[in-house]
Amino acid sequence: MKLITAIVKPYRLDEVKTALQELGVHGLTVSEASGYGRQRGHTEVYRGAEYRVDLVPKVRIEVVVEDAVADDVIDAIVGAAQTGKIGDGKVWALPVETVVRVRTGERGPDAL
């Protein structure tokens, strides 16, 4: 199994969700995140005082899938989140040792 983590622009979340549903991914976790990459931050001005805001808002999407579909899922996320402009985000995958469904105690791929 793989844990796929994607950091994307907040307004692309709906497209990513739709793309994953079409692939049959049944569950995912979304959290608000802040950070920066090459996009860096932006500046804001209050009463003439300029503030540099380094961290830009992003969403972090986490989904655990079987190894066989991991690449398809990654492609789906990238396809849905891509705008071609700087600041589109990152997607990465990590191996997952085990997963347990809390309600039933099922382990491994059955728990997905």
């Binding site: 001005v45 209050y46 009463r47 003439g48 300029e50 503030y51 805001v53």
Partner: protein
């Protein structure tokens, strides 16, 4: 302000009753204006500093403040007597001009309240609340009350003897609060992280709402200062609207040219700057004068708010940059734009009055500014030595809302400065077990 007429005019009284309520609304308005500009961790404390001033100033005003400010002069135009302490000798039948004396005293009280509240903007996020509770009543008696007597008290040296003009409080309210704010922020020192950390206003819609309430209340402040429902009140009313507008436009013009963006905070600040400047002059200048006064304040104040970063004094919410500077502009421009039709006699330089009126305004401004700064600085140092005027470093870091008031303004836990939401069930069932460190 003569005491000759001994009967009450119902129209004048009706308007002043409404105007008094309008001016009182300015203080909660100011609380929102200031509260939106601080960070989430100390917004309640900021609101409280204004709100508690209503109660504190009212008590000392009724006890002695009104008498010292508006009682018969007892010492060379400097201070009134204590004959009306506790409002003694003043009843429902007492008359001041054409309105009940009780109403006049209440109207003036609302001015004293907002002036004290204005000072709090200079020392946001770091003031020990217990010290503020001591400062406000004492400050009202030793700073606000004498200046008010000089300007509006019977026999006061600035208006009655020197002949300078101040219609609605450029000196007692704006210059006094601004100079006192400067003194107090020097006593307390800058906030932790001043000039280093981003201290963005946390809620600009709240700032706009506050500015709107201030503007609304300002009609009572300025037009009410005519102390009657008449043409002068109408002229002051229109001048108040006009100067707020040109102040707003002036500030936005500077921002567009200097920073590249017109901002909501700039619009709110510019309107307030224009209103500050027209306060002393709304009943003395023509409509053209009012437009110029507001524009000058909007433009100059938009630059004055950045002086603190260069000179390194943390006037956190720009009481100096807006109220002191705006108040000086408005009070001095009377010397140029005063018009006979408004003042009933005195004229400014542009209307053939020569340079003497400007000189009088200058002298009065310098005296009031120096007095308010000096006495507030001394009082601040005294309180600092006796009680400590500044919150502890830990309280300032954590935020005064949680550490002083045991509350948080918002129920979402964003990066550590929201409410402790996972404690709510415990708190609902029993007394909170987690003791929040209270302010000594």
């Amino acid at each position: 302000m003569t005491l000759a007429a001994a009967h009450v005019d119902t129209g004048d009284t009706a308007w002043l009753l409404a105007a008094t309520a309008l001016v009182l609304l300015m203080t909660p308005g100011l609380a929102l204006f200031y509260g939106g500009m601080v960070r989430t961790k100390s917004v309640l404390n900021m609101l409280m500093m204004s709100f508690v001033s209503i109660a504190l100033v009212t008590v000392v005003w009724l006890a002695a403040g009104y008498s010292l400010a508006f009682g018969d002069d007892v010492f060379g135009g400097l201070i009134g007597g204590l004959g009306h302490s506790g409002m003694s000798g003043i009843g429902p039948g007492s008359v001041h001009g054409t309105v009940p004396t009780l109403l006049f005293a209440t109207f003036q009280l609302t001015f004293a309240i907002i002036t004290a509240a204005l000072v709090s903007g200079a020392v946001a996020d770091r003031t020990k609340f217990s010290a503020w509770l001591v400062f406000v009543p004492v400050w009202a008696l030793v700073v606000y009350v004498p200046v008010t007597h000089w300007v509006w008290g019977p026999g006061g040296w600035i208006v009655d003897r020197l002949g300078a003009l101040d219609f609605a409080g450029g000196m007692p309210v704006e210059i006094t609060s601004g100079a006192s704010g400067l003194a107090l922020c020097l006593v307390l020192g800058p906030r932790l992280g001043f000039r280093k950390d981003a201290m963005r206003p946390h809620n600009l819609p709240m700032v706009i709402l506050g500015a709107g309430l201030l503007w609304f209340g300002w009609f009572g402040f300025n037009a009410g200062s005519a102390l009657g429902a008449n043409g002068l009140a109408a002229a002051a009313f229109l001048n108040t609207l006009a100067a707020g507008c040109t102040g707003l436009l002036g500030w936005l013009f500077v921002e567009q040219r200097r920073d590249g963006h017109p901002t909501t905070l700039g619009a709110a600040s510019g309107a307030v700057a224009g209103l500050v400047a027209i306060t002393p002059s709304c009943g003395t200048v023509s409509l053209l004068g009012a437009l110029v006064v507001g524009l000058a304040a909007g433009v100059v104040c938009s630059y004055a708010v950045s002086w603190k970063f260069r000179l390194n004094y943390d006037d956190s919410l720009d009481v100096v940059g807006v109220h002191l500077v705006g108040g000086i502009i408005g009070t001095l421009l009377i010397g140029l734009f005063a018009e006979k039709a408004m003042t009933g006699g005195a004229e400014g330089l542009f209307y053939g009055g020569g340079l003497v009126p400007l000189g009088r305004q200058l002298l009065a401004v310098a005296a009031v500014g120096a007095y308010a700064f000096g006495v507030t600085y001394g009082l601040g140092k005294l309180i600092d030595r006796a009680l400590g005027f500044r919150a502890s470093e830990e309280q300032e870091h954590t935020g005064l809302d949680l550490t002083v008031h045991a509350e948080t303004a918002y129920d979402h836990g964003v990066l550590g400065h929201g409410a402790p939401v996972n404690h709510s069930l415990v708190a609902a069932q029993q007394a909170p077990t987690r003791k929040v460190e209270s302010q000594a």
